[in-house]
């Protein structure tokens, strides 16, 4: 036993070196920060079950949006900052479904059913734009997204919808900024088969839906089409010479991403209980981008695992940062600040680190 006196230290150091190499500095910091917050919460005797339950809900509701980053990264277009294009399509579906007063799962699935074709058309147009601006997809995508959101602001204001529950109380025209889903499909997924374990409510349906899409996604990446897409992304020259249609695969990547974003925002809205219109989707892409990057993706390579790990880490951090820091710092709210620094810092890290073209 005496001989091993040195060893534990070495082992600890070795563990951290290994962890550092595996995770990279930013991921390590974020993981430690999440653990620190949990320790703080435990020390201050906060109700951990609520924190964990809330985290699970947040993970489920943001998961699909993060998944939607994968196809564009895989096909070589990069991070899809134009996610609002798909988000808007999803919102159109949700608004239509609400307008018809469809309740429960009917409302949810009709919303998705309407959103899918809209997202496919919007995604196709968006893909045509991105195809022409190769090399600047991220920048152009960001501003295409911003433009769509502000153009749709005018649409929400002038939309010919007369449902009194959805339009402004005064004036008789224009959809409200946030519309409650209480009477239609709020929390249909969250409450589906939900049960309690040790006081933690598990949003079974929500997590199952996310898991289902994860499985479908990884099956897709193993399929012929998925492999072709990944080849196009990682080595376009090779893909071209082996007879793949690079342009076609890239367009499908963008369309798939847009469609997933549309489904993602509907899942998000049903869990949140409200549909947020107007400028709310403006920055929708950023948490999703940050999630996959935190999960270990780069600008050129991303797996379903990256998306899952990233969403779990990032959204657990965001969920528990607010109550914990509020208790610890007596009122000062740093969760918003933490969100900005963590998500943008992570994107910045990826942008400066990635392999040169």
């Amino acid at each position: 036993m005496a001989a091993t006196k040195e060893k534990p230290e070495q082992r600890v150091v070795g563990f951290f070196v290994a962890a550092y190499e595996q995770l990279g500095l930013p991921r390590l910091i974020i993981t430690l920060f999440v653990l620190l917050l949990f320790v703080l919460a435990f020390i201050m005797k906060m109700d951990l079950t609520i924190l964990i339950g809330d985290s699970l809900v947040r993970i489920g509701m943001n998961g699909v949006l993060a998944l939607s980053m994968l196809p564009t990264i895989a096909c070589g277009v990069g991070l899809n900052f134009g996610l609002p294009v798909g988000v808007i399509a999803g919102l159109v579906g949700a608004v239509m479904s609400m307008n018809w007063n469809l309740q429960g799962f009917a409302g949810f699935f009709v919303a998705i059913g309407i959103a899918l074709p809209v997202a496919m058309v919007a995604g196709y147009i968006y893909a045509l734009i991105l195809e022409r601006v190769q090399g600047q997809e991220m920048m152009v995508g960001t501003y295409v997204g911003f433009s769509i959101v502000s153009a749709m602001c005018m649409f929400w204001l002038l939309a010919p919808i007369k449902n009194p529950a959805m339009i402004f109380a005064i004036g008789g025209q224009g959809l409200r900024y946030t519309i409650t889903l209480d009477k239609t499909f709020a929390k249909v997924l969250n409450n589906f088969l939900a049960f309690d374990v040790l006081g933690v409510t598990i949003p079974t349906g929500l997590l199952l839906f996310f898991a289902l899409l994860c499985v479908l996604m990884s099956l897709f990446f193993r399929s012929r089409a998925g492999l072709a897409m990944r080849t196009v992304g990682s080595n376009p020259m090779f893909a071209k010479s082996s007879g793949m249609n690079v342009r076609y695969m890239k367009m499908w990547g963008v369309i798939l991403s847009t469609v997933l974003a549309a489904v993602g925002i509907i899942v998000f809205s049903q869990s949140y209980g409200f549909v947020q219109l107007y400028t709310a989707p403006l920055y929708a892409a950023f948490p999703a981008v940050a999630s996959v990057l935190i999960g270990g993706a780069t600008l050129k390579r991303a797996t379903v695992g990256n998306a899952i790990i990233g969403v779990v880490l990032f959204h657990t951090l965001l969920t528990i940062a607010l109550p914990v820091t509020q208790t610890a710092l007596r009122g000062a709210d740093i969760s918003e600040v933490a969100r900005m620094i963590v998500s943008n810092g992570m994107i910045l890290y990826a942008l400066t680190r990635a392999e040169r073209r």
Binding site: L158, A332, I334, L351, T352
Partner: protein
């Protein structure tokens, strides 16, 4: 593959390529926005005197911020969304000056001096980051702006009063931690605009025949300062440094071979841009008269860039005249569109959303056109 024209203007028969630039093509974007502005003015039924009053004020307010974008474009860094960081440096200086109760032109100049070390440090750090992200400087500078905004809020919302010892009941929240949302700059308001009041207060009101002229208020000294900066910028382009920047902007590899220190040149360009942006934000805020501690800087990058692009600039070519024309046109639309929305649709918000659509859309289209152009040139 045939070369694609991307301009909306008619393509002349022999517009084969890189030779002479067709003036109609070069100015097609401003002409389009001029037409849009005139249509808006007519639709809104706007009083021209009111418009001129607004535009002079906005011109003085925004011009230096837009000018701060020119140097990075010249050095091939594209549109520097990171001027937001310069604006933060300016605001930090302004908060310090206000805290010590400095007033008037002396206070303003002191703020301008204090902002320089901040801006240089931030510019240096930005430059380091951008040198690691060659080829995607614009998206990196944009994210850098968001990131810096997080740090800014951390400093002024959390650290002030806890880590940074500061006591000031006027500026700070009642809890003693963090700054208030708005800081009244009453001692500094108009300090630069009206510095020449003893000569002439810049107030125009009268009649020419039967046509009323005014009331306009011309920010005289600010305009003098802006003209000074324009001269300085065109001087810099003629110096050795300016030529090196151009060379780097044309082609980094060739510049490197020719013995130019590419990274250093790009660094200097970003530092200069950041310092100018800090001063630009000071001019902006002394004209407005209040500082929205957590919001004043947020939109600065986007609006300045949109204005420059409306003036016909691209991500690789931007002149002082692009900046002048762009600020005038963009802010005309800015004033006009809510009023036009009110008149045409009966809902002022439509015009407001149209305005932000315009700002975002202009940037999207300009970036897309530019990327498209570079792509077809390469093929």
């Amino acid at each position: 593959m045939p070369e694609k024209t991307v301009s909306t203007a008619a393509r002349p028969a022999k517009a084969g390529g890189k030779g002479g630039v067709n003036p109609l093509k070069q100015w097609s974007v401003p002409i389009f926005f001029l037409v849009l502005s005139i249509a808006g003015i007519i639709a809104a039924g706007l009083d021209i005197n009111f418009l001129i009053h607004e535009i002079t004020a906005r011109f003085g307010r925004n011009m230096l911020l837009v000018l701060s974008l020119l140097i990075p474009v010249m050095a091939g860094l594209g549109l520097n969304f990171g001027i937001v960081i310069g604006a933060m440096a300016g605001q930090a200086a302004l908060i310090i000056v206000t805290h010590y109760g400095m007033e008037g032109l002396a206070g303003f100049l002191l703020a301008a001096i204090i902002s320089v070390p901040f801006a240089m440090l931030f510019g240096y750090l930005s430059g380091r980051i951008l040198n690691q992200a060659k080829g995607r400087e614009m998206v990196t500078s944009m994210i850098m702006g968001f990131f810096a905004n997080g740090l800014y809020q951390l400093v002024f919302l959390v650290l002030v009063g806890t880590v940074i010892p500061m006591k000031n009941t006027v500026l700070m929240l009642s809890s003693g931690v963090g700054l208030r949302n708005t800081v009244d700059l009453i001692g500094l308001a108009g300090s630069l605009d009206r510095a020449l009041d003893r000569l002439w207060n810049g107030f125009v009101m009268g009649e020419l025949g039967n046509i009323p002229i005014g009331p306009w208020r011309i920010p005289l000294f600010t305009l003098v300062v802006i003209v000074g900066f324009c001269l300085l910028l065109s001087f810099i382009t003629r110096t050795k440094l300016g030529q090196e920047m151009r060379a780097v902007g044309q082609d980094m590899n060739i510049a490197q071979v020719a013995g130019i220190n590419v990274d250093r040149t790009r660094m200097i360009a970003i530092i200069m841009s950041t310092v100018l942006a800090a001063w630009g934000q000071l001019i902006f805020l002394q004209n407005i008269g209040t500082l929205n501690t957590y919001n004043s800087h947020e939109q600065v990058g986007m609006f300045s860039i949109a204005a420059l692009l409306v003036g016909g600039a691209s991500t690789r070519r931007a002149t002082i005249w692009n900046a002048v024309v762009g600020v005038l046109l963009f802010h005309t639309l800015f004033v006009v569109s809510p009023l036009a929305g009110q008149r045409l649709m009966g809902i002022p918000q439509v015009g407001e959303y149209f305005r932000s659509f315009l700002a975002y859309g202009v940037i999207a289209v300009a970036l897309a056109l530019h990327a498209w152009q570079t792509k077809s040139e390469n093929q």
